[in-house]
């Protein structure tokens, strides 16, 4: 059975079916949404069960699409994409459960979410350059309407900025993909990886275009300015998907395209990439420290965490020893997964807080831990994970990234300072919002209900599991990455 194609198309088809229903009561709509995303999650687990190949891609699925130009429906997974596919399946399922109380035009909302899930899964699994680009762009449209339709106060401006900025960001990628196509006559990404078609100046131009695209998407300073606005204005599930899944398009793309398809040019430019990554990590940490809006703070910590991923990928291109390169890539990929789990949880929690108090400002709260222990402890655990505490999800990832960085380019490890700043900002946020005497808007606030506890509980368990036994994810990643690094 073509599980990959089914998983990619199932959410989209469920959405289309919803659109054709004559009446769409909210209960039915959300039921369909949970069922479709749940089924997709099961499909991604089945894909994991089938496993990956020791080299290259596994579970290939191919169908004719535009034969004249060598574009086809090509899907497959490896150790880089499979963890992200699982993460996508999980976060969309949890978002569907969390969103089940949305009463404003629920059908349209759910259709957009399902469309986004298809686009996200397609982006990670596509092995065809054109198909990859199509999925990559479709996700922008879905997210634009999500922010514009269900966002907060200033949503129109934020949505517009998001769409314009990220479209400007992704179009250079199209030129680079056209360049690869013109040089090779196909859109098959496996062919591009097998024998990189571009060299010399053309490769450098394509690299610059791709780096620009992925720097906007990841985002890397100074191309991050769309992110705080989009995150703060997006509805909660939108923020979770944006941070948990869509930011990974940038770093996934960074490994899949420039690292694998333009290896020489990427190696030449890697010191610059490393510098951008390190600066971005530091900048994100300091900018987060300056925020008083919880959601904005978490948004900036994303810039910090994704900066580490960029460092990892750059170090993998710079290091001489295959062992170090593997460690860097392992760490970078694991960091993507950890960030999805941790930041997903944090955005859910801030959303839950905002639902109750209609505020995201730290100053509006105090001493919440006694009032809402579930929410409080969940936030504290997630925050500790986010600042890189050993035993939680980010630690094994960041540890490997810094280990490799120390080995290859010790100066890159200045970004380590970011961890200290992150620790400070989370401790400050916890102290203000959850500790001390109860004050502000916390009075009379109910704790998490059963559904919310389910959503958060699943994420927390996984955060601890990945922290304690990173092998459950890392084994898959490592198999592919040791091949890439060799």
């Amino acid at each position: 059975m073509p599980l990959l194609s089914i998983a990619t198309l199932l959410p989209l088809l469920a959405g289309l079916a919803l659109m054709l229903l004559p009446v769409r009561p909210a209960r039915i709509v959300h039921g369909v949404s949970i069922a479709a995303t749940g089924a997709t999650l099961l499909l991604t687990l089945a894909i994991r069960d089938r496993g990956i190949a020791p080299e290259g891609f596994a579970q290939l699925e191919e169908a004719a699409w535009i034969p004249v130009i060598g574009a086809a429906w090509r899907l497959g997974v490896d150790g880089l994409s499979l963890p992200l596919v699982l993460l996508t399946g999980l976060l969309f399922f949890l978002s569907a459960i969390y969103s089940a109380r949305i009463g404003d035009r629920p059908a349209t909302y759910v259709v957009l979410m399902l469309m986004l899930e298809s686009a996200s899964l397609g982006t990670f699994m596509a092995l065809d350059g054109l198909l990859f680009y199509v999925f990559f762009e479709v996700s922008l449209v879905g997210m634009y309407f999500m922010i514009a339709g269900w966002g907060h106060e200033d949503r129109q401006r934020a949505a517009l900025m998001f769409f314009l900025y990220t479209l400007l960001g992704s179009l250079p990628l199209l030129l680079a993909i056209i360049g690869l196509h013109l040089a090779s006559g196909t859109f098959d990404m496996r062919a591009w990886i097998g024998t990189p078609p571009l060299g010399g100046t053309a490769a450098m131009l394509a690299l610059v275009a791709m780096l620009f695209t992925f720097a906007v998407k990841t985002p890397v300073f100074p191309f991050h300015t769309w992110l705080p606005a989009a995150h703060v204005q997006a509805p909660t599930a939108g923020s979770v998907i944006l941070a948990g899944v869509m930011l990974k398009f940038g770093t996934y793309g960074l490994v899949r395209l420039p690292f694998q398809m333009l290896p020489d040019a990427f190696a030449a430019a890697a010191p610059v990439v490393l510098a951008f990554g390190a600066f971005s990590a530091l900048y994100g940490a300091f900018a987060a420290l300056a925020q008083s809006d919880l959601k904005k703070m978490i948004a900036y910590t994303s810039v910090n965490h994704m900066g580490y991923v960029v460092i990892g990928v750059a170090v993998a291109a710079l290091a001489a020893e295959p062992r170090i390169r593997t460690i860097a890539l392992d760490g970078a990929t694991l960091q993507m997964v950890s960030h999805g789990l941790v930041t997903g949880a944090l955005f859910f929690l801030v959303g839950m807080l905002q639902d109750r108090a209609h505020s995201r400002a730290m100053g509006d709260f105090g001493g919440l831990l006694g009032r809402v222990p579930w929410l409080g402890w969940a936030f504290i655990l997630s925050a500790f994970a986010s600042l890189g505490l050993p035993g939680l999800a980010h630690f094994p990832a960041e540890f490997q990234i810094f280990l490799a960085t120390f080995n290859a380019r010790p100066w890159g490890a200045v970004a380590l300072l970011g961890i200290v700043v992150t620790a400070a900002l989370y401790l400050r946020a916890i102290a203000i919002v959850f500790l001390g005497p109860e004050r502000g808007r916390g009075r009379g606030m109910p704790d998490l209900d059963r559904r919310e506890r389910l959503v958060i509980g699943v994420l927390l368990v996984l955060i601890v599991l990945v922290g304690v036994m990173p092998g459950i994810v890392l084994d898959v990643i490592h198999r592919t990455m040791s091949g890439l690094a060799g």
Binding site: W65, I66, V138, G149, L164, L167, L171, L175
Partner: protein
């Protein structure tokens, strides 16, 4: 010999006969019959094109080309005209002289086919005149001040640019001793003569295709004319101009420098069109400037002629995509109203039409997996393949500007709660919306159907 030539001309002959019959129907005051004849004639001409689609020949001593380009051009122009007829029916159906409008449209399309197959300078002149005369009358149809002024402007611009073109083309005739484009190769090494004829051609066809700086008539003419006529002019006569330009430049050596000149015009046209569209509040004017910007994109394929095999497929694909999405967008304007505030809450009140409009606008921007994306993909690929990376870069930057323009329509459609305004979607218009939407989505998901 004559019989062979005529057999290749069956689509054109059929269309000419159709136009005559439509005039007769109008004389009988039977506009519905006229329209039916028109649709049937267009359908027949389309079908008659299919057998000669892969032909690569000329008729009448090389003056008229029956080749892949002219064949595919017919497959774009004829169905596009049929859709425009339906839109006219929906907009001015039952009013005085409706049948004349139908007949004129088919006549103008005949001129457009001539342009698309032109292998000779005189045929280009003839095509420009034939499409022009009919178009002036079509714009003037409402007979109010705005329409009269618009038609007047249109006419004067047309007369001047047409005159310049005819005059300038005499240089080519003088240089080659022939009016055939196929003989232009002998002009290599005579830059002044080449430049004179080239300038003339760009003036004449640039006016028809709405390239900056020959675009001034476009917003006024579109605004003064009925919406359906604006839609027709923005698609059929415009695409015909680019087909004609392609036919002429295919035989001109690239060393003559025309790719660079046209590249610059393309860059200016795209940028100017979108910048001007950003500040419009009248939807027809906004779409007029947007169509000017799209003219710049058309040129990307023309610029790549002779240097990339992708130039012709890209031109045809983009023309087809543009026809579908632009006619669709105008059809929605026909339903919703001509002013930007008319769109407020429109998408919430009428989800399906709103969704169609979003698809048309995103397709015009070039967002996948819509038809417009594959059109632009081909254009960019052709430009890069021909060594004009800078032009592709300007094209993508302008796509972002374009998104800004089109989101100005999308935002009000969903921002305000819907005012439930009853809208009239007569059957012909419904058909137009359904067909253009199906093409925009369908050819986007399965472009292989088109890209053969």
């Amino acid at each position: 010999m004559m019989g062979r030539d005529l057999s290749f001309l069956l689509p054109e002959l059929f269309l000419a006969g159709t136009a005559m019959l439509m005039i007769v129907a109008e004389m009988l005051r039977a506009p519905r019959l006229g329209m039916t004849i028109g649709l049937a004639g267009l359908a027949a001409a389309t079908l008659l094109t299919l057998p000669v689609l892969d032909a690569e020949t000329t008729v009448f001593g090389g003056t008229y080309r029956i080749d892949t380009l002219s064949g595919w051009a017919k497959l774009v122009l004829l169905p596009g005209t049929a859709l425009a007829l339906l839109m006219v029916r929906a907009e001015i159906g039952g009013r005085l002289r409706e049948g004349s409008v139908h007949a004129l449209i088919v006549m103008v399309t005949l001129g457009a086919l001539m342009l698309a197959g032109a292998g000779d300078m005189m045929l280009v002149v003839l095509g420009v005149v034939l499409t022009g005369l009919g178009s002036f009358a079509l714009v003037a149809w409402p007979r109010d001040d705005a329409a009269t002024e618009a038609a007047m402007k249109f006419l004067i611009f047309g007369a001047v640019t047409g005159g310049v073109m005819t005059y300038g083309l005499t240089f080519w005739f003088g240089g080659t001793g022939s009016t055939l484009f196929a003989d232009l190769g002998v002009l290599t090494g005579r830059p002044l003569i080449l430049a004179a004829g080239l300038t003339a051609l760009i003036v004449g066809l640039g006016y028809k295709g709405a390239l900056v700086p020959f675009h001034f008539w476009v917003p006024d003419a579109y605004q003064g004319a009925p919406v359906s006529i604006a839609a027709y002019l923005s698609v059929v006569t415009k695409a015909a101009a680019f087909f004609a330009l392609t036919q002429a430049l295919r035989d001109l050596p690239r060393e003559a420098g025309w790719p660079m000149a046209l590249g610059l015009i393309a860059a200016v046209t795209m940028t100017f069109g979108y910048l001007a569209a950003l500040v419009q509040t009248n939807l027809v004017r906004l779409l007029a400037y947007s169509s000017i910007a799209q003219s710049g994109y058309f040129l990307l394929a023309v610029v790549a002629l002779g240097a990339s095999e992708m130039a012709l497929p890209a031109l045809v694909t983009f023309a087809a995509a543009y026809a579908a999405m632009n006619l669709g967008a105008f059809a929605v304007v026909l339903v919703a109203g001509r002013e930007l505030p008319d769109l407020e809450g429109f998408g919430r009140a009428h989800p399906w039409i709103g969704l169609s409009m979003v698809a048309f606008l995103l397709s015009l921007t070039g967002i996948p997996p819509l038809f417009g994306f594959f059109g632009k993909l081909g254009l960019f690929a052709a430009a890069i393949d021909a060594g004009h990376l800078w032009l592709a870069v300007i094209g993508i930057v302008n796509s972002v500007l374009g998104l800004g323009v089109y989101l100005r329509l999308v935002v009000p459609m969903y921002a305000a709660p819907g005012r439930r305004r009853a809208v009239r979607v007569p059957l012909p218009l419904f058909a137009v919306l359904a067909i253009t939407l199906a093409a925009t989505l369908g050819a986007g998901i399965w472009p292989g159907l088109f890209l053969r």
